[in-house]
Every structure is written in structure tokens, then in C-alpha cells.
């Protein structure tokens, strides 16, 4: 069911971790698309599998225990799941780039910024060393670091968190990727720096013309940046639609709960903690039924017996909840 216009198409992705000999799925049946030049936000509380999902796309799961069990990840129609490291290395950093949550640890402490910047270009282009260095410096300028000539000789510990994240972004866009995956790029930063970094990502997205898969648990960020939104809960997509309908016509009780938990005005940013209870850990995931049932205000007896399916309630708006017939495995109705 290849979708022609999608840049990235994830179909029924299952990613598991082996813990004490058993496989537990941190991502279970996730499907969504990213179209060219689109900003898709993935939201959900801590521990619902956002990072695991994005690492799966890049094939960067921890080798010793993480594994994609099922599903496909199509990049321009090509399935990335079965590619080996060598084939994947041609794509990573060139077609798809990624920036991470922790700028403090994401750069190698004993290599210069210049070395780490140059590396991407060495991996993917045949430019000469001097040209590469020039390009690195101009990339640093592009992300708002004016002292590029000096910074390339410095080490990560000499830079602030915001600067490091800028360096990460500069590396990520060096080869003009089609898709940038940003896994909570601002969570570890000061509030003022957060805004700057998001602004930078928007600006760069415009300049490079890339699509962005932005992972966040901050709905304020979503409102500002997203074209479309994927809401994840406990390893599953529970709702997906364009950004307006998420904010004005949320359907899944979890999405509604997330929305009511946005802090008003300039309150301290204690995001998403007003939903009582926590995301079940991998080992305590309910075997059947809706994974949100314990915390759901609208739970029905049926919810813990039947697995809800992700179904379209209207064009471009899917939800995984038995309150909607489209989600009910027994009473499927066609909307299209």
C-alpha cells in the first residue's frame, strides 16, 4: 500500500526490547506518513515510545537488545527496515538526519567541533578538506554561530547547551536532508533558548525545504510548529490528524486530557502531569484492551476486553478508541 506522495511511510511498526529473554514492545503497531516539506509532530508523555520510534527509523536502536520485529519504514518507497549498516550509512546524515534530546552528551568530548562537523561532509560528499572546512564554518553561520572560525577549533565543553544544539542542527542540515528527525531538541534547554532553537529549525526547514518529524511533549510547541500531529500513547498511535483538528476537535480521551493539561499563560512549564496515573511500563502493559483504560475518564467495560484499532473517523483524522465505530474491530464503517 505504497503511498506515492509520502516521503516517509511507516506501516505497522513493531519495535521490541529483549529483557530477561522476553521481548517487550515499546512501539506496537505505529503507522503514519510524513509528506515532503511537512512538519509532523509526535506527542505523548514520557515513556510512550517516541524516541524508540524515531531511533527505529534511523536504525539506531541499541544493538544488543533492541529490534524491529514487524512492519515497514518506507523512505521514498524503499524499505529501510532490512537495510544493513553500510546501506543505512548512505542514508543517515544525508537523506535523513537526526538531532537528539541531550546536546550536552550528543557531541564527542575529545574531538573538536570542526572535526565533528566535517565528518558528515566527509561521509557523504567528495569535497576537498579545505572546502569541507569552509562549508562547516558557513553552516555554523547559518545556524547563528558567528564565530565559526574559532568554534571549529574548540571542544564541546567550551560551548553552552544552546550552542551545542545549534552545532547539532548544523551537522544535521549539512547535506540538505529531505527529512530531519528532531527528538525533543529543546527539552534540555532554557526556556528562552528553546524558542530560539525552534525558530531556527523553522527557518532552516524553509531554507532547506525539508520535512521535519518533531518529537515533543510540549503542546505549545505543537501549536506553533506542526502541520500534522501524531499522538502516541504506550507505544501506539492513538490519534492522528492535522494540527487544527487536534486542538479544536480532539477525539481520543488521551488527547483531550493532554490538551487540558497545557499550562495557561506563563505558569511554570509542568507539562502533562495533570493526567492521573502514569504510562504503564513495558512489563506491565495490558495484554488485551485499550492501553489507556486505567486512566481514561470515559472507560467502558468493553475497553479492557477489545483491542481498539486505529480507524479514520473523517478524512485525515484517525483515532484508536472504542467510542468511535471506526475504531471498533466489530463495527467497522467506511468513511472515505
Amino acid at each position: 500500500m505504497s503511498n506515492q506522495e509520502a516521503l516517509l511511510e511507516i506501516n505497522s511498526l513493531h519495535t521490541g526490547f529483549e529483557i530477561e529473554g522476553k521481548t517487550y514492545h515499546a512501539v506496537k503497531d505505529v503507522s503514519f506518513d510524513v509528506k515532503p516539506k511537512e512538519v509532523v509532530c509526535v506527542v505523548g508523555e514520557s515513556g510512550c515510545g517516541k524516541s524508540v520510534m524515531s531511533l527505529s527509523i534511523m536504525n539506531l536502536l541499541p544493538k544488543h537488545n533492541g529490534k524491529i520485529d514487524k512492519g515497514e519504514i518506507l523512505y521514498k518507497g524503499r524499505n529501510l527496515v532490512n537495510l544493513n549498516d553500510k546501506e543505512m550509512n548512505k542514508i543517515r546524515g544525508k537523506d535523513i538526519s537526526m538531532i537528539f534530546q541531550e546536546p550536552m552528551t550528543a557531541l564527542n568530548p575529545v574531538l573538536t567541533i570542526g572535526f565533528q562537523m566535517d565528518e558528515v561532509l566527509i561521509n557523504h560528499t567528495s569535497m576537498k578538506r579545505e572546502e569541507i572546512r569552509k562549508k562547516s564554518i558557513s553552516l555554523l553561520k547559518q545556524v547563528g554561530i558567528s564565530r565559526g572560525e574559532q568554534i571549529v577549533h574548540e571542544y564541546p565543553h567550551q560551548l553552552s547547551g544552546g550552542m551545542r544544539q545549534r552545532v547539532m542542527i548544523a551537522m544535521a542540515i549539512a547535506c540538505q536532508p529531505q527529512l530531519l528527525i528532531a527528538d525533543e531538541p529543546t527539552t534540555a534547554l532554557d526556556v528562552t533558548v528553546q524558542a530560539q532553537i525552534l525558530e531556527l529549525i523553522t527557518k532552516i526547514q524553509d531554507e532547506v525545504g525539508m520535512a521535519v518529524l518533531l518529537i515533543t511533549h510540549d503542546l505549545g510547541v505543537v501549536a506553533e510548529m506542526a502541520d500534522r500531529v501524531v499522538v502516541m500513547y504506550a507505544g501506539q498511535v492513538v490519534e492522528e490528524s492535522d494540527v487544527d483538528r487536534i486542538f479544536y476537535d480532539a477525539q481520543h480521551p488521551y488527547t483531550k486530557a493532554l490538551l487540558t493539561s497545557i499550562p495557561r499563560m506563563e505558569e511554570e512549564r509542568e507539562v502533562l502531569n495533570t493526567i492521573s496515573g502514569i504510562v504503564p511500563s513495558l512489563k506491565n502493559m495490558p495484554k488485551v484492551g485499550c492501553r489507556f483504560v486505567d486512566r481514561c475518564p470515559d472507560a467502558m467495560p468493553e475497553c479492557s476486553k477489545v483491542d481498539p484499532q486505529l480507524g479514520e473517523t473523517e478524512k485525515g483524522h484517525s483515532v484508536r478508541c472504542l467510542l468511535y465505530d471506526a475504531s471498533h474491530p466489530g463495527k467497522k464503517t467506511e468513511v472515505r
Partner: protein
């Protein structure tokens, strides 16, 4: 950095003085003294012994003996060896180059072996290769050095005749010639191999564990996300980090290297400091024993200092501060 180094060096002086007191006290506490090692007590005239003791200053109060000794030390005079009938300073000066050669060679062997094995084991952990390397290492660690030395002599000298079994240089060669140096290296290689192999285990294990730990780090994931090939990730990103603790390890290890050298030199009759120390203890040549012990303590201190400073040189995070 400069200030830090200076402070570190200044701090060493009071420590050195304390060490000298302890060493001197220990030497006095040894049964017998310089005289009893030389003279057959059954045979000698007690009056003569008493006279000699008086002459050598052995009857003076402890603090006077210490003061006299210390006064010499600051003038680079460590007294006279009663056995060798020469100044301790000269005696040690004669032996020290051999021990330094042995230690350096053994360190080179340690680093080469540990680098090859640790790098492999760290990159392929929990494989047969890794387990074999660890097995070999534990074996080398478990075998006492004199047993290892005897084994090495048996196999390499007696069975294959590859290396001489004793001495530190061939008999007929003139010092300073090329032959002399070749002969020296030839004599040093086998004891250096034994000594090096003994310390290899901990270095290998250190490097292996650090590589495994580093390979889980976020920056490795970043490098992967850039499309950096696995080989480069290990050779540049991981090894650069893991090598830092290894490079400085020898500084903290100098004491145990010298400790090993004492035994290995004795088994190989290698004319170094270690062999001198053992034979001097046997013959109660206390001036030599004290001087060598003091020297080893200083070597340990300097080694630690060197390790710290080296760390600052190779780790950019410390370099600037």
C-alpha cells in the same frame, strides 16, 4: 595548569621527608646491620666489632644517624655500600639504566599487547575471541612472576635458544658500540616480555571495558546518525576516549612495574636495581636498601604526578582549566 603542576610538585616535599623517615626507620628495624652482614659473628673479635660499629656511627642515637644520612642525601650522597665498597650513588647509577630499559621495554610490550587485545575484545564483547582474550589475561595475571620467568627461560632460552637466560649484556662486547646495544636489547627482551605480560591483563581489561562503555554513549549514536562507518566510529570516536585512561595508567602503575622488576631481575640475574635491592637485603647492605627504597617511593610519586599531568595534556576537558 602550570600553577596546578607547581602546587603538586611542592606538595611532594613534605611527603618525601615523611617517606625518608619511614624508610630509615624500617632499615634500622631490619635484623642485623651493615656489619653483621659482612662479619662472621662466631669468628670475629667482639672488641673489633664494637670498634667498627663506633667507627661507622652505628652506635649513635637514631636521630643523629638520620641527620647524618639526610645531610648526605641533600648533597646527593647516599653513603657507601659496605658490600660493593663504593658510593651508593655510583652503584645505583650503574644499575639504574638497565632497570629503566627493562621497564620501558616491558611497558611497550604491555601497551602493544593490551592495545591489540583490548581493542578487539571491546569491539567484539561476549564473543569467543573476547572470552579467549580474557582467559589468557587471567592466566597471565594468576601466574606468579617467578614461575612465568622460569617458564620463559625454559621455553625461549633452553628449548629454542632464542634469548639468553641471564645477565643484562653479553660478555665480550665493548660498551657504546652497536653490538653492545643489540646485545643489551637481546638480553632485556625476555625479562621485559615476562614483566610486560604480567601487567598486560589489567590494561587489556581496562581498555576493553572502556570501549564497551563508550560504545553506548550518546556521541556514538550521533556519529552513527551522521552515517559514519563503524570502523571510523571505533577508531576515532571511541578509541580517542578510551585511550585516555590507559595512557595515564602506567603512571600509577610504576610501583607495581618496579615490584615486578625486582623479582624478574632476580630470576634472570639481570643487573638492575631490583636485583641489587634483593642482594643488598640479603647482605644487610642497609645504605643501598634505604637508597633504593627511597628511590622507588619517589618514582611512585613522580609517576602519579606524571599521570595527572599527562591526563591534562591529552584530555581537552582538563587542558583548559
Amino acid at each position: 595548569m602550570l600553577l596546578y603542576s607547581l602546587r603538586r610538585i611542592l606538595i611532594m616535599f613534605p611527603i618525601l621527608i615523611m617517606i625518608s623517615v619511614v624508610v630509615f626507620a624500617l632499615a634500622l628495624a631490619m635484623p642485623g646491620d651493615a656489619l653483621s652482614g659482612q662479619i662472621d659473628p662466631q669468628n670475629a673479635n667482639p672488641e673489633y666489632i664494637e670498634e667498627m660499629r663506633e667507627q661507622l656511627g652505628l652506635n649513635d642515637p637514631v636521630h643523629v644517624q638520620y641527620g647524618r644520612w639526610m645531610a648526605g642525601v641533600v648533597q646527593w650522597d647516599f653513603g657507601r655500600s659496605t658490600v660493593h665498597k663504593m658510593g651508593v650513588t655510583d652503584l645505583i647509577g650503574e644499575r639504574l639504566p638497565n632497570t629503566i630499559l627493562l621497564s620501558v621495554m616491558s611497558l611497550i610490550i604491555t601497551y602493544v599487547l593490551a592495545f591489540i587485545m583490548g581493542r578487539y575484545a571491546g569491539r567484539h564483547p561476549y564473543t569467543i575471541g573476547d572470552y579467549s582474550i580474557q582467559g589468557i589475561n587471567y592466566l597471565m595475571l594468576a601466574i606468579p612472576s617467578f614461575v612465568a620467568a622460569l617458564f620463559a627461560i625454559f621455553i625461549f632460552s633452553f628449548q629454542f635458544g632464542l634469548f639468553p637466560s641471564s645477565g643484562s649484556v653479553g660478555s665480550g662486547v665493548t660498551p657504546g658500540t652497536l653490538d653492545f646495544w643489540i646485545s643489551k636489547l637481546h638480553h632485556t627482551f625476555l625479562p621485559a616480555l615476562v614483566l610486560g605480560a604480567l601487567t598486560t591483563a589489567s590494561y587489556t581489561q581496562f581498555l576493553r571495558n572502556d570501549i564497551i562503555e563508550s560504545s553506548q554513549k550518546d556521541y556514538v549514536r550521533t556519529a552513527r546518525a551522521k552515517g559514519t562507518p563503524e570502523n571510523e566510529i571505533y577508531n576515532k570516536h571511541i578509541l580517542r576516549n578510551s585511550i585516555i585512561p590507559i595512557v595515564t595508567l602506567f603512571g600509577f602503575d610504576i610501583a607495581s612495574i618496579i615490584g615486578g622488576a625486582v623479582i624478574v631481575e632476580t630470576v634472570f640475574s639481570y643487573r638492575g636495581i631490583g636485583e641489587l635491592l634483593i642482594s643488598s637485603i640479603e647482605r644487610r647492605d642497609s645504605a643501598v636498601v634505604i637508597a633504593i627504597t627511597l628511590m622507588l617511593s619517589i618514582a611512585t610519586l613522580v609517576g602519579n604526578l606524571l599521570a595527572d599531568l599527562l591526563y591534562g595534556v591529552i584530555d581537552p576537558r582538563i587542558r583548559v582549566e
